[in-house]
């Protein structure tokens, strides 16, 4: 999809797919287009080019496609302040066609909101409103969940609660697309991270089953150039006086030694999403 406001492009040819059971995190600096992308895929805004397909249905042509969608597009989530949390959820349940008795109590309990459920939303804290937003989003058991900054304004306990819930939902087969600045926390359970910058999708990083190796060799630049030519090596880059790469470490070591490089260290390392993101955005 692309989106322009007048002549100003906000998003340019961004294309991504989120599979059932997958958590896709959108990262990017402020103004990179994350919120615009979320508004486009939820059908709130219209793309200048392209389509948003939700389980096979175009979300802009067929509003009924949103029956599978649960979303929170604002932080904190917006509700009628003069209604209680429970009343707001009753309204949402009616609009979403939820007839199941007890479901409202269930989601309120899941988001730890039962104690304030009968208070007016106007008196809620930001964190409580945010959690109520998530409760409303999962009320009708959506197959797709789209969240803009779901942990914004939450205390550490709330953050943990939300991450736990998202992980659980993805394990149940829900496709989750979320935007976030909290890469370290999200990298614990996200399957893929899309890095947006200047309205473009700069990179897509698959996190699941990803093994990264740290190599210290001399001369470093030459070793990096060599690794980049090897078909068994992917994503080789410099970081803090060493090379981080993915792929086959044995093939890499063999090639380096054959070319006369001095290898000081080579070991597996946990993929550092935050450093990767910072580097990727810096070089964009």
């Amino acid at each position: 999809m692309s989106k322009r406001y007048g002549r100003k492009p906000v998003l340019e040819r961004v294309s991504l797919t989120v599979a059932p059971g997958e958590v896709y995190a959108l990262a990017g600096p402020n103004g990179s287009g994350k919120t615009t992308l979320i508004r486009l895929v939820t059908g709130l805004a219209f793309p200048t080019e392209g389509r948003a397909i939700l389980l096979g249905e175009d979300v802009h042509k067929n509003p009924a496609a949103r029956r599978h969608l649960g979303a929170v597009v604002e932080a904190p989530a917006a509700f009628y302040p003069y209604l209680t949390g429970r009343e707001n959820l009753h309204l949402q349940a009616y609009l979403a066609g939820v007839r199941e008795e007890g479901r409202i109590g269930e989601v309120l309990a899941r988001l730890k909101l039962l104690a304030v459920a009968d208070q007016k939303v106007g008196s809620y804290s930001l964190g409580q409103r945010q959690r109520l937003g998530l409760a409303a989003a999962i009320l009708h058991r959506p197959k797709v969940l789209i969240l803009d900054e779901p942990t914004s304004g939450l205390d550490p306990e709330g953050v943990e609660l939300v991450h736990g819930l998202l992980k659980e939902l993805s394990q149940e087969g829900v496709a989750v697309l979320l935007s976030t600045h909290h890469l370290q926390e999200v990298s614990q359970y996200a399957h893929k991270v899309g890095i947006l910058g200047g309205g473009r999708l700069l990179d897509e990083v698959a996190l699941s089953g990803r093994e990264v190796y740290r190599l210290e060799a001399h001369p470093l630049e030459g070793a990096l150039a060599l690794l980049k030519t090897l078909p068994q090596v992917a994503q080789a880059r410099l970081q803090g006086g060493a090379i981080l790469f993915e792929g086959n470490p044995e093939a890499a070591l063999k090639a380096l030694l054959a070319e006369g490089y001095r290898v000081k260290a080579l070991h597996a390392e946990r993929f550092d999403l935050r450093s990767y993101y910072q580097e990727r955005v810096k070089h964009a």
Partner: protein
């Protein structure tokens, strides 16, 4: 659909502009009933409680009621945008046109509720003057407030009910116009201002005599000219439908 309409109605009557409007419409007649300078300013001596009712209608329709209706219609959408709940509603599998239609029906009902509040307040404020037969007029029929002789309570009530219904019909397209601007600007202030500015500009078009019979503003005093109701009501309906259609068209592709 019905439930959505009732919910829109509920939300409308929670709006501050609507609550204030109803209070003003209810209290304004008491001002007229107690005003000591009516004779000096308007040359009018209240002879009956029915005249308090008509005086309130005439005064209100000058500016206050159209303004209150425009404000309410503008706020019905603008407040949802401001508090973010419009997005929450549109995230549900609900056609945008259905949501707008529910809002439209609610704001179209408001002028009649506003006029009913004014009518009720006027009846209470007019009690000290009595509601029996009197020599004079309601100001809405033949002979104005001086009337043409004895006016029975039934005749007075008939004239007043007809005038209030016509006034309600006059206010309906104004509500639709404000909602149209609401969908365009997604802001209470901007849409109310645009609607009022449009009406003021339309009034200036009287300088084009060929256009005058078709202007919305030509019929803003329809409650005083029931003989023009045939063409007037048809045009008011056309304006209302036109504004509503344009609003639906705009809202359907509006970025939020």
């Amino acid at each position: 659909m019905l439930r959505l309409f009732f919910f829109e109605l509920y939300k409308l009557f929670r709006l501050r502009s609507v609550a204030l409007g109803l209070v003003f419409a209810f209290l304004l007649p008491f001002l007229w009933a107690l005003a000591p300078g009516l004779k000096e300013v308007y040359g009018l001596v209240l002879a009956s409680g029915w005249q308090v009712v008509s005086l309130s209608l005439l005064a209100g329709m000058e500016f206050l009621f159209p303004f209150l209706v425009v404000m309410a219609a503008s706020e019905s959408l603008g407040s949802e945008v401001a508090q973010g709940t419009l997005k929450t509603l549109l995230l549900r599998p609900l056609p945008r046109s259905l949501l707008l239609l529910s809002k439209l029906l609610a704001v179209l009902l408001y002028p009649f509720v506003l006029l009913a509040a004014s009518f009720l307040g006027s009846l209470l404020a007019g009690l000290p003057h009595g509601f029996g037969p009197f020599f004079g007029g309601t100001g809405l029929g033949e002979g104005g407030f001086a009337g043409t002789g004895l006016l029975t309570p039934g005749e007075a009530l008939g004239e007043l009910l007809r005038a209030h219904l016509l006034a309600g019909a006059v206010l309906v397209p104004l509500a639709a116009l404000a909602l149209l601007y609401g969908t365009l600007f997604l802001s209470t202030t901007a849409s109310a201002l645009a609607a009022v500015a449009t009406l003021l500009l339309m009034r200036l078009l009287v300088a084009f005599p060929a256009l005058t019979p078709f202007l919305l503003t030509t019929y803003l005093d329809l409650h005083l000219r029931p003989q023009a109701a045939g063409l007037g009501l048809s045009l008011l309906l056309i304006y209302t439908l036109g504004f509503a259609f344009l609003a639906a068209l705009l809202f359907e592709r509006k970025d939020l």
